[in-house]
Homo-oligomer: 536 residues x 2
């Protein structure tokens, strides 16, 4: 290409180029709104000045231990203030934040710590037994810092001589944290559990985390000083990047150690919550709260949900209860949500069932995702926009992970052909919205016919006595698989299996699809994505 | 630095890295909201599908002319649909959009066209006389495309055989536009008029324009489908990047060929305008509209203003009239606004005068600006946060220009020490908010005393019969300079100069500051920034 006048003497300098990082959002909110409440946890309140100070103290204390660029610092914490502080304090040192799912067992925790070459583990005393067992299994032992929640004291065995609050007191409040040398530098590490084999370590970078903050704000329609309730675990894809997002909006983080209906309603009533995120089970918990637990909402609340399409009955009841539900979808590999069911005004006129059909779609690309499509992974050709032809959902853009840590083969396979292969099956509708169909774990193949677990769940959720349900495939000698429903009935209700079966039988409205197309066209790559990490 | 596990096999690929550009926002809005009205111009309506198609046709027609990466395409257009389309169609070809201030004379237009090596000029027939004279002066003649506004036909001489609508009809609606090869590639060129010497060509890049969209959305509190009225000229710093911003929000652009009070109120009433931007003179025009022109506002409207702090009287009347006024500040070199007077809830309790004092501050850094401070430019030391010590306002970050086109000396000088030197004098308040003081054009030195033109204007604006005013320095043999006020009285009102002088005299409340400190500490660099482009 020939040289143009725009090619000379217009270079990057510190004045006109700075690495993108979410850390600048905390610095800004602390500088502009130092006295605004950043964190609520029980009776604790931390302003933005304090959150910034505590994060810098943490960074300073870690640096004093020798933590530096490219080291891994692990955390096994519920949604408590130190978990938020770790999202800032750890990357302030140039290190990478590794969040551990608090529900994992010692063997997997030990695998992750070893694989990540973790130098420090900050954990909550609630998990000290698991941590003790995991450390025993580790090849190299990380240093331990134990958080003893002053608001909700835990009874686990004290494992480490170093308590978190004492640890950060050692740090310097004025610690001069560093911008990442490169916005492509790693900021965090999240392991997918996968369905087979060892977990894979998904690496995020500063650039993606920064852009995700803007995309979340736009998608969730957040504004300055939004109040966010932490029902989504922060260990889950870094809480979809909301620790950084809420901070970018100078909002208030309302911590929640355990997801319980009473605590959720109390927080919403007392702190004016505007936004929360969670799987449909959180919605069910709220809808099935007892009269003692329910509190009136002071305002309409935005609920962002993922993991499974919201069932029609749940959706209707949520709307009546004062929630606007937004359906998003993504994977650990995409920083959390990467698609959003962007709602159109004209859909408001549909009946509840029509609205639920629309709401069930996973939708369109997040603003920070440059490409979203459904392709035949063999040919890399986009499927017809007919709402029927199955393909693999593919992502491309700045909120796709750096790759899998120390796993170049898996990384190359995931990025084959210049697109991230989600492993999820879906269709393209005529309006460009995507919809997942027959996710490997959602499809039940019974007598050669495909049965969608989602469709069975939809029918079950309409039953007036059912609080929550999940339908899975049960191995069956004759049929190969048959659907098996796990059902939680409402408090005080009684329900017979035969009633439920009868309920489903009269409501079966769709003809099952033959499994043939899937078996022929998709069988080979089906095997491939069976080994991929789970969607959420 | 030693190699860490995060340094290997986690590289950029098309799957996980895409150049940031505002072009993807149009593609997204056209894909997600194809039928939503993107542009209103007179009786014309273009949906997002149409705006995208027209932009691609423009790109295709330009490419057919041979326009390619790094070429310059100039436009001299008012706020009409082709001006919006140029913001997308020109960079879709890899070319750079050069917007010409429509108020300039032929000699300066010719200088810009030559300096930019412009290949094509798209202009409105309203300016054909200026264009004709400018082309006569040009060393190399660009191809001409004339826009003949179908809604507001102009009477100027037809200069080019090619009319804009015919031109884009030649283009292909399905034109496959290209992502920029690098997000650092130039996207637009805007000349500062400067106070001495030749104009300097400020170059923006795709990365900065993309980030500015998010920052504008956050700062202006825009949401999906906001309705934006085009009172700010799009030729002015690319309309502060709002052509791209409103599109990112899938909002509606309401075009306005001329800024007239009646047309503004009509647009607000009929189209449900939510946002508009402009200098204080736009506020004055609205506040002084006749009863015939005023229409009730269907909702509260966000008004984003720059150029000068909003006077107290104007601010109060705007609030009463249904506007929330946000004060921003920036320069051509910072893509438009780079600071925002981020309003704090506790300031609502202040009296009108106290609120105006707060609102007069230029504020804090935009979310997309990584650094903002006030320094002594000799020592590059930050001034004390005392609200009194003068220094030069300095910017650093991703919304600072690439540099000045073909002017490495000016670029290097502007970026000396790793910060962009604004040339504006200001102070740092104790809360971190900056405030401009004594901008070179705002300070009047009379008998060795500094007089702030802003303070005199503040007093004048409180006069019940004054619609608009501007105070400048007038050369004076005895005093060096004296203040000279240009005053527009309200329709039908009469006012004597002696009345105005008496009004000011009794309201003079602040002691003039001695000019000494400025003359000694700032004289040298004062000379330097006198040659810099104007702030807005």
């Amino acid at each position: 290409m020939s040289k143009t006048p725009y090619d000379s003497h217009l270079d990057k300098t510190p004045a006109n180029y700075q690495p993108l990082t979410p850390l600048t959002f905390l610095e800004r909110s602390a500088s502009v709104h130092p006295d605004h409440v950043a964190v609520i946890h029980g009776r604790q309140r931390f302003t933005y000045a304090q959150l910034y100070e505590r994060s810098r103290r943490l960074a300073s204390a870690l640096a004093w231990l020798g933590i530096q660029q490219g080291d891994t610092v692990s955390v096994m914490l519920p949604n408590v203030p130190p978990m938020l502080e770790a999202h800032f304090g750890v990357p302030m040192t140039g290190a990478v934040l590794h969040s551990i799912n608090t529900r994992l067992d010692a063997a997997i925790v030990a695998f992750q710590l070893d694989h990540a070459e973790s130098k420090v583990l900050i954990y909550d005393r609630e998990f000290s037994a698991t941590v003790k067992a995991a450390i025993d299994l580790c090849r190299v032992k990380p240093r331990l810092v134990e958080y003893d929640d002053p608001e909700f004291p835990q009874v686990g065995e004290r494992m480490s001589p170093v308590e978190y609050e004492d640890f950060i007191k050692r740090g310097f409040a004025g610690y001069k944290w560093r911008m990442p040398a490169d916005e492509w530098d790693a900021i965090s590490l999240n392991y997918t559990s996968g369905t087979t084999g060892n977990p894979k370590g998904v690496v995020y970078h500063h650039r993606g985390a920064h852009l995700m903050c803007y995309a979340n704000i736009v998608s969730a329609q957040m504004s300055r000083h939004s109040v966010y309730l932490w029902t989504l675990p922060m260990f889950h894809c870094n809480g979809w990047c909301f620790p950084w997002t809420v901070t970018a909006a100078a909002g208030t983080h309302v911590c929640l150690r355990w997801v319980r209906a009473g605590a959720i309603f109390e927080a919403m009533a007392e702190h004016g919550v505007t936004h929360l995120c969670g799987a449909p089970v959180v919605m069910s918990a709220m809808l099935n709260a007892t009269a003692n637990e329910v509190r009136p909402l002071p305002r309409r609340v935005q609920f962002i949900t993922a993991a499974a399409p919201p069932p029609e009955a749940v959706l209707s009841r949520m709307e009546q209860a004062g929630f606007d539900v937004t359906h998003v979808y993504g994977l650990t590999e995409t920083y959390g949500p990467a698609t959003v069911n962007e709602w159109k005004g004209e859909w408001d006129a549909l009946d509840p069932s029509g609205r639920a059909v629309r709401k069930a779609r996973q939708g369109v690309r997040y603003a920070a995702l440059e490409g979203l499509t459904v392709m035949n992974p063999e040919t890399m050709e986009v499927v017809p926009s007919d709402g029927a032809t199955l393909g693999e959902v593919m992502f491309r853009g700045n909120i796709v992970m750096k790759g899998y840590l120390k796993n170049p083969a898996a990384t190359d396979e995931a990025f084959a052909g210049g697109w991230f292969h989600s492993g999820d099956l879906g269709v393209l509708h005529s309006d460009g919205y995507i919809q997942l169909k027959d996710r490997s774990k959602d499809i039940i193949i019974s007598g050669g016919e495909n049965i969608s677990s989602i469709e069975v769940e939809d029918v079950l959720y309409k039953h007036p006595l059912i609080a929550a349900c999940a339908v899975v495939a049960k191995p069956d000698e004759r049929w190969g698989e048959t659907p098996c429903a796990f059902i939680e009935v409402k408090p005080g209700a009684e329900l017979l299996a035969s009633d439920v079966i009868a309920w489903c039988r009269v409501r079966r409205c769709r003809r099952p699809r033959p499994a043939k197309s899937r078996n022929s066209a998709c069988a080979r790559w089906q095997r491939r994505f069976d080994a991929r990490g789970e969607a959420h």
